[in-house]
Symmetry: C2
């Protein structure tokens, strides 16, 4: 993403897109907590006020990043939506994909699940999330037959476990490097299968 050609600075193809790109970089370096519009502007060589021509405020940038995050994640899940495949295997693959997504796109994952972007102030987020929800919920329903309570209880358990493994990985508890990702993803997949196998225990007594 180099300058568009006029001068040394950023004058300018698409500052909006460049800001999102740079913000993601910065979140990768300092975490969501430490990201600021000011630093992004500096890195792009524009004035600190420039972003305000494209975004209302800081949280508006995070919301835009979140939308991209949901799109990227939905794309990862797409291969496992095929209803012809066995539901348990699909869910295990999705758990694995969840952990891998957290690893490969850590900044996006953080924005989705760690930044608290106000979903009321940014309604487009709910829409962006829907494909992800659907991919997951459909597979769970395929497994439970669609009965209300067991479906919800199993879905919650699977999500909780996947999130837990992803966080453990991000905390470095599996170590660093490709092997760590593989291990975390594999364990998440196995835990998914274990929960599915004993799903009868998940709903009330």
């Amino acid at each position: 993403m180099p300058p568009t050609g006029k001068g040394g600075r950023y004058h300018h193809g698409d500052l909006r897109a460049a800001l999102i790109e740079t913000a993601i970089e910065l979140i990768g370096e300092h975490g969501v907590r430490g990201f600021s519009l000011a630093e992004a502007s500096r890195r792009l060589g524009v004035a600190v006020s420039a972003p305000y021509a494209h975004f209302a405020d800081r949280s508006d940038v995070l919301a835009a990043i979140a939308v991209r995050g949901y799109q990227a994640f939905a794309a990862e899940l797409a291969p496992y939506e095929d209803p012809a495949l066995p539901p348990a295997g699909r869910l295990a693959a999705m758990a694995s994909a969840y952990v891998r997504f957290a690893a490969a796109q850590r900044p996006l994952f953080e924005v989705l699940y760690d930044a608290d972007v106000d979903k009321d102030r940014h309604p487009e987020l709910a829409a962006a999330e829907k494909p992800v929800r659907d991919a997951f919920d459909c597979s769970v329903a395929a497994l439970t037959g669609g009965d209300e309570v067991p479906t919800r209880d199993l879905a919650t358990a699977l999500e909780a476990a996947a999130r837990g493994y992803a966080l453990f990985y991000l905390d470095g508890q599996f170590g660093e490097g490709a092997a760590a990702v593989d291990e975390a993803a594999a364990r998440a997949a196995r835990a998914t299968l274990a929960l599915i196998a004993s799903r009868g225990l998940l709903s009330g007594p």
Copy 2:
């Protein structure tokens, strides 16, 4: 925790303890992210420089809070350490206690599992964590017979699930109020039992 009696301000019984107390309050209001020594000082009516007589810096305060957090959590787990009880039930109770602790002591929970207090710079944390680790690990080992790999794999799965449920609760996904806590805790306990029941699926193929 009112003033010690001299004047209207805080002059002073135990500023160190009062700071910890106030910091926990503030974390409850703004999250770990938003807590600052300056605001704590203001709330206590002391100079912003006063804390530095008791703590090296901001992270030192968080470390002190973390120590208290581990102590409080260990106390919650104590009833379930009894080796006479069945291990599966103990682990289910611990998962439930984990979620309840997150709910009842949210600020402490955040400091323990969300603030990244540098464990190298604050070695006392490892010591404080040990009772918690032990309570949990012993119960898992009692269940698996102590074999290295299955013990670690099951422990990871149970922790991941409990953490996931706690986060879901804190995100408000179970709703608000006492009923929400009960539900989240109950589901965490059931998921624990489900994972234990299918623990054969957790270790490699």
